[in-house]
Structures are given as C-alpha cells and as structure tokens.
C-alpha cells in the first residue's frame, strides 16, 4: 500500500512538473512580449522606448535574464512556494491566488454537487419512466443541456431571477445567495453530461442477465435499479466526474465573467491575454494539482464500488 501511494505521489509530481514546463515553453514560444502588451494597454508602443529603457522595463519583470535562467529561477521559487509577482496586477501571485481560489473552489464545489444531484436524479428518472413521450423528453434533455451555451443560460437566469423577479443578485461574490445563479449555470452542462453517461450505462446494465435474475427473485423495480444496476453503472459516471471537475474550472471563466465574480477563471483568462506568465504558471500548477487529486480520489473510490478491482492485484501476486 505504501509503495502504491508513493508511486501515485511520484506520478503526481511528474505530471505537475510536466504541466509547469509545458506552460513555460508555450508561453515563451508565442511571439509575444509582456512589456509591449503592458505598454500597449496604456496606448504606448514598445518601439518608443530606447534600448536602455527597454532593459529597465524588462528587468522590472525579471525578463532580462536568459530564458533557461528564468525557467530555473521560477521553478526554484515554486518549490519554495514562491510563485513570484504578477506582471499585470503587481502583487505576489500567492496573494492573488489566496484571494481568488476560495470563491472559485466553493462555486465549483456547489456546482458539482448540484450537477450530481440533478444529473443522477434525471438519469434515474429517465430510466424509470415507461417508454413514451415523457421518457423521450427526459432522455433528450441532457443533449439540450450540453449544447446550450453557458453564457446564454447565465444571462437567461439573470434576466428572470435577478432583473425580472429580483430574487437573487445578478453579480458580485457577497453572501450565499450570490452563489445560486452562477452555480446553477455551471451545473447545467456538467449535470447534462453526467446524466447522458449514466442513462447509457444504466440502459446497458439493465439489459444484463443478472438484472433479470434479481427481478426474478422478486425484487422491486426500484430496488433493482438502485442496488444492482446503479452501483454497476456508477463506475463510468465516476470516471467522467473526475474529468468534469476539471471542466468546471474552464466553465468558471465564462460564469465569472457573466456574473462579475472574482475567481480563478477570470484571473486565468485575463492573465493569458496579458501574458502574465507567473500567474498563468501558478494557475496551471494549481489546476493540475486539483486534477491529480480528484483522479486519485476517484481511483481510491473504485474498489469500494467494485470489489473486484481491489482484489485483482492480490490474485496476480499469489
């Protein structure tokens, strides 16, 4: 077990390092210049600077050293927990992340919860309803949820619940009520994907012979669905959930812009546009860590759902 955990942690470290390095390489291969971008944002072109002024400007951002030195310097900083200073916002990256992370983490958490409840609920319902127009509607609903753009859902919710009914705020990050509309917006596509996958695997499992056996033993329809079919169908859903947690981070870019929220998604988008290398690097590492962590949790949950997975290694070792 110790060896298993150690190997997993080692893999995680390699993934994080690779993500960090890839981001660094991509940002430096792009034909861009953070100094020029900052100046252009102030309506000043880079060629108005003398070579000496340019050096000063680059030194301010730590861009005056050779690329490999910049890379090693930043990597060493990250290992010490120092992510450097944002070019655009002029504050330590760690402080920026500290301010923005909680809002996005909470929002994503709530969204995933809503998505789980709505997605699983919809799937169970869709499978339970006898064939007919209603079943067809329920089975098609996920497709609608996946294809409708996120920002449109957000704007519609704002129109109805903020502007017309006045129940919930249209923007901002203050108070629990400010989470409701953005979380629902983020949950719609996620729950739709979840429901799609779950409906498909429930259909598959419900056709298995052991279900017929269970039914023959006199178990009720609901009991069969929950105890037998759902447990087996949950595996692919769990796998996809790991991916969807990552997707909520992407979704947060749109949602945080529409709802004027300060979060990691907005920060990521702004920082990429501004070529704010230290911030982008830090967010990539953070997102990669979250991804690695979620997948680790999912991996550890597998044996609970399917004991065969846990047993397999023992058999092979014997």
């Amino acid at each position: 077990m110790a060896w298993y955990v150690l190997r997993r942690v080692g893999q995680a470290a390699v993934v994080l390092w690779a993500a960090y390095t890839a981001t660094f390489v991509i940002l430096h291969v792009l034909p861009s210049d953070p100094v020029a971008l900052q100046l252009a944002a102030n309506n000043v072109e880079i060629d108005s600077l003398t070579p000496e002024q340019r050096e000063v400007a680059e030194a301010r951002l730590g861009l005056d050293r050779p690329v490999w030195q910049q890379y090693l310097g930043m990597l060493a900083g990250v290992l010490r927990g120092d992510f450097g200073t944002s070019y655009a916002k002029q504050v330590p990256v760690a402080q920026l992340l500290g301010e923005r992370l909680p809002a996005t983490a909470t929002l994503s958490g709530v969204a995933v919860l809503i998505a789980l409840v709505a997605g699983v609920g919809l799937a169970l319902l869709a499978v339970r309803v006898p064939r007919g127009p209603l079943a067809a509607l329920l089975r098609r609903l996920p497709a609608v949820g996946v294809s409708v753009p996120n920002f449109w859902i957000g704007l519609l919710l704002i129109q109805v619940f903020a502007f017309t009914l006045g129940w919930l705020p249209a923007m901002g990050s203050i108070g629990p009520q400010s989470y409701v509309l953005p979380a629902i917006t983020m949950a719609v596509p996620t729950s739709a994907v979840l429901a799609q996958v779950l409906i498909r695997s429930l259909d598959d499992t419900l056709g298995e012979p052991y279900i017929a056996t269970a039914r023959a033993k006199g178990l009720s329809r609901g009991a069969v669905q929950l105890r037998h079919a759902f447990r087996n169908a949950a595996l692919p859903t769990l796998t996809i959930l790991g991916l969807l947690v990552g997707a909520t981070v992407t979704g947060s870019i749109v949602v945080e812009t529409v709802f004027s929220r300060q979060g990691l998604g907005r920060l990521a988008q702004e920082s990429v546009l501004a070529q704010d290398v230290p911030v982008v690097q830090a967010i990539v590492v953070l997102a990669a860590s979250a991804f690695v962590l979620v997948n680790l949790v999912v991996d550890l949950l597998y044996p609970l759902l399917d004991p065969r997975i846990a047993r397999t290694p023992r058999v092979s070792r014997a």
């Binding site: 792009l30 000043v44 301010r60 655009a88 109805v160 249209a170 923007m171 300060q262």
Partner: protein, 554 residues
C-alpha cells in the same frame, strides 16, 4: 418528481416571455422622462456606479501611470489638478493654482497656488508638494519606462519652488500642451507621502489626493470604494456648487457584461451604468422606458480613425488611392447602422468636443462615383464581371490587422467592396501588434486617443513625439509630414489665438485631404443614470464627476 422536472422549462419559458414583454414595452416608449426641477440638492446617500472593467494587462489607478479611461474617471474625483478645463470652451481655468504665466518662449510656466488646500492625510498643499509631484513623475518615468504620464511632461526639465505658494516649471523643449496637461488627471497633485510608496503600490491605490472623495479601496478587477472628504472647499469654478460633495460614498463595480450593467440599472440595483462602447439602440430603449436618463458626450481627442501605411510599394502610397478610400467610406450609414439613428457622424480627424475642432464634413462626404473615377485614374480598373479592381494583374487589397472582428469592420468591408476595394481584415494577437507596426505589415491600422487638446494627435503621427516612430513615419510621406509638423508647431506655440485656430484648421484640412487619417466614427461616451440621480456632469475629457451628484428620495 415528474412535475418538478417539467416545471423547469416552464419557468424558463415564462422568463423568456417576460423578456419579450419587456423589450416590447421598450419599443413603444417615447424618450426620457423630463429632467428639470428636482428640488434643492440634499447631502447624503451612496452612489453605485457600474463601469466597464479595469485594465487586465496593467491594473493601475496611479494618476501618472494610467491611460485607462475607467481609472482616470475615478482619479478625477479623488485627486485635484493645478487647473481645470471648461468642457464647453476648452478654456483652462484656475483650480489648485489661482493664476499662472507662460514665458514667451513657452519654456517656463509659473503657477500661484491656493493657500487653503490640504491633502486628505492632512498635509498642506504647497509649492514643495507640487515640486515633489513633478520630481516623482520623472522618477516614475525612469523606473517604469513608457509610463503613460510621460506624454504630458515631454521636455520637462525641472520644477522649483520660488516661494511657499509659487512653483516654476522649466522645460528644455517647448510643450505648450502642458497647460492643458495640468488640468488632466495624469498630472494631478498628490500628497508628498504618496511618493514614499513604490510605483506599483501607487497603482494599487496607495496614494492621497486633495479631491472631494477619498479612495478607500481598490481591488483590481472588482471595484473601488470612495468616501466623502470632510472639509473639502476648493472645487473649481466649473462645478455647480462649492464645499463638500453631497454623496457620502461611491461604490464602483467593474461589470464585463453590457446586459448585466443595463439590467442592474433598470432593476434598481445600481445608480449609474457606464459602458465602454455606446449603448445599443435596444438598450437605450430599455433604459429610457425604465425611467433612466441617458447622457452622452463625444470623447475629446482623436476620432476612431484608420491610419495608412504610405511606405513605398504599399497601395496607399498613391495619393489617388488614398483620396478614393476617403470617399468610399459612408460615415453616415456607419453611424446609424452601428450605433443608432441619432448617433453623430464623424466630421474630422478629431471628435467634435476637442478644442480647435473644425468640421471637414464636406471633404468626408460619401462619394462612390468619385472614388471609382479616382481609382480608374490611378490605373486600378474593374474588369467585366469582376468584384475587385486590378492593376497589372495585382488585386486592389487594403489590409487592416484587427484583434477581433466587429460589425463595423464588416460594414466597412462591404462599403469598400462597392467601389472594388478588397478590404482584408487580418486577425492578429494583441501581442503581435508591435511586430506588425515595426514590420510595416499593414495598409491601415485603427486607433484613437482621448485628450482634450489637438496636440494629442502628435502622439500618433508626429514622429518627434509619437508613441511609435515606425507608425508615425508610415502615416505620411516626408513632405506632408514636414507640413504637419510645422502646423502642429504653429498651433501649439502661437500666442495669438486666431493664428492658432487658423493653424489647426489648416492642419485638419490637410489630414483629411491628403489621406493621413481616415476618420470612421465619432467616439461617444454614454452614461445612464437612475431617476433618483441628480447633478450629473461630464468633465472636459467626458469623464464623470461625482462631486455635484445628489440623490432624491426613492
């Protein structure tokens, strides 16, 4: 369970219907509610303002370092300047300085200061504080090369305190736009202690001014909180009242989504909606139907214009082609199609609120037949059945690099197609701009500039001052460039007001006739205020002054 799931779409449909009903009302509304006697101003209340977001590439509210309009707006209310500028006449009037003199050689400016002004940290405003502001400006410029305020102090040598309330500013080279510069936020006077902070800290709001409001907090990307300055008693004469501001506090939120800004105002969640681009005709109707008041004023400075690349080998090096391009743009249709029926039509290189503005609307009239004749004369002919003109087998293509396609770009493309010009929109990354300019890899590039002084155009096309030498040198042939420079010099240095007006008039005619600028549209600043908001006022730079604003009950 079943009914619950069915109700979801039902709510959405109800919402969509409500939306339709709303826009239906908006369509039948008949303009703004009458402004007028709202009673005497009352003190108190808080104002919620929703802006377009701050600068994502450079979060900064330091007066000297920032160009971003949304930041300068706020600064105008927390930091005062030596002078103020009349939005109507462009005249420079006293503010922190009671009077000033300019030497004949335009190199020495002497300001007499008020003796009753304090910064909000309690320090008195005196000559030493003003000197410190100018010294620090130069230090900031050295530490942060390209800091925007450098434009305003080009040629500055030294600032010295002649006595406790007299400051002399000495220039090495003439900079007559400096007097107007002293009225802007960028040369606002800050408390000496502000300059103990680093430029980066000042960007994040760690500075102290003498304005009617105090900057309490700036959170990049999120917003700004201001509160009233107690004991404020030195407003410029351009305001409607004296003494302290009426509002207790102002809360500024950055909202990226236009529809959210408009919706928050119409639903009563905010008091002022301040967009970057003009409200759409639909939003205007929605706003007025909700009782909101619409305000608009062109932003002074360079209009949204295309600037050519006339380097050898480029199609626009031919004056005939440039004249044809000038005639091929239908500016009236552009204004009404993109921005609505009552939107002003651009009439020159500058927006109409710029001092010394002279309309060139005749020279800018839409004349497709004239354009076609000029192109024929230049040898670009239209083969039978062809869409675009050719010359020696080459197609007449004008390349405009853009970062994102707008409806305006496409409209322009269609207008030029009518006369046989292939207007190619080449999408580029913002980070490529520098190399596109230095490589001359364009035929036209769009830009604009907000400053209430005609000299602002020098920052674009006069290579002695331009923010990009390459861009300026591409914009006109050497002979025209020399003419432009001498007209700028005359406009700036002539003491005689009539001679200045004449120089600027000739300059504006030359710019249009020779095709140095191709004005496309006038940049208009819109704002919408809730019915309870009174005393709205645009500054000379079309910014928002909170000082005179007060709120009625309800």
């Amino acid at each position: 369970m079943t009914t619950l799931h069915r109700r979801k779409p039902a709510i959405a449909i109800a919402g969509a219907l409500a939306l339709l009903a709303l826009s239906g009302c908006a369509g039948t509304a008949t303009g703004a509610s009458p402004t007028g006697a709202a009673g005497d101003p009352v003190a108190g209340g808080e104002l919620t303002v929703e802006f377009w977001p701050d600068n994502a590439a450079f979060a900064c509210v330091d007066p000297f370092q920032t160009y971003w309009i949304e930041s300068r707006q706020v600064i105008r209310n927390v930091a005062d300047s030596l002078t103020d500028q009349d939005p109507e006449t462009g005249e420079i009037v006293p503010w922190l300085a009671t009077s000033w003199t300019v030497s004949d050689d335009q190199l020495t400016y002497t300001f007499e200061l008020r003796d009753d002004v304090t910064f909000s940290d309690g320090t008195p405003l005196d000559a030493a504080a003003v000197v410190r502001t100018f010294d620090s400006a130069q230090e900031t410029l050295a530490a942060v090369p390209g800091a925007y305020g450098g434009v305003y102090i080009a040629g500055l040598d030294t600032a010295t305190a002649l006595d406790e309330h007299t400051v002399q500013v000495q220039f090495a080279t003439p900079n007559s736009a400096f007097l107007q510069g002293t009225s802007t936020t960028n040369l606002a006077i800050l408390s000496p202690a502000s300059y103990d902070a680093t430029p980066a800290d000042r960007c994040l709001g760690k500075f102290v001014g003498s304005g009617p409001f105090v900057l309490d907090d700036y959170t990049p990307g999120e917003g700004i909180d201001l509160s009233r300055r107690d004991g404020y008693d030195w407003a410029s004469s351009l305001n409607a009242h004296e003494g302290e501001a009426y509002l207790d506090a102002v809360h500024i939120n950055y909202v990226a989504e236009d529809s959210v800004r408009v919706g928050n105002l119409t639903s009563g969640a905010s008091d002022v909606a301040w967009p970057r681009n003009p409200f759409t005709p639909e939003d205007q109707a929605l706003l007025t139907s909700s009782g909101a008041q619409l305000h608009s004023r062109p932003l002074p400075g360079v209009s949204y214009s295309l600037f050519p690349n006339v380097a050898d080998g480029k199609v626009l090096s031919d004056p005939l082609v440039r004249q044809a391009l000038q005639k091929a743009i239908d500016r009236e249709t552009y204004a009404t199609t993109i921005y609505g029926d009552d939107y002003p039509v651009v009439a020159g290189a500058y927006d109409s609120t710029t001092p010394f503005f002279g309309a060139q609307d005749d020279a800018l009239a839409y004349d497709p037949e004239g354009a076609a004749e000029l192109l024929d004369e230049a040898g670009w002919t239209l083969a039978d059945g062809a869409t675009y003109r050719t010359k020696n087998g080459q197609q007449l293509t004008i390349v405009q690099p853009i970062t994102a396609e707008t409806p305006g770009d496409v409209l322009l493309q269609d207008q030029l197609k009518q006369v046989g010009i292939d207007f190619e929109l080449k999408v580029y990354q913002a980070s490529d701009r520098a190399s596109i300019i230095s490589g001359g890899d364009y035929d036209v590039l769009a830009t604009y500039y907000t400053r209430a002084d005609p000299s602002v155009l020098q920052w674009i096309i006069d290579d002695r001052y331009a923010s990009s030498k390459a861009f300026a040198q591409n914009a006109a042939d050497p002979e025209t460039a020399a003419q432009i420079q001498s007209l700028f010099d005359a406009g700036i240095t002539d003491i005689d007001q009539e001679a200045r007006t004449d120089a600027y008039a000739r300059l504006q005619a030359l710019l249009v006739d020779d095709g140095v600028t191709f004005p496309v549209f006038e940049r208009v600043q819109y704002a919408a205020t809730a019915p309870s908001v009174q005393g709205f006022r645009f500054t000379s730079e079309s910014f928002l002054s909170y000082y005179d604003i007060w709120k009625t009950e309800g």
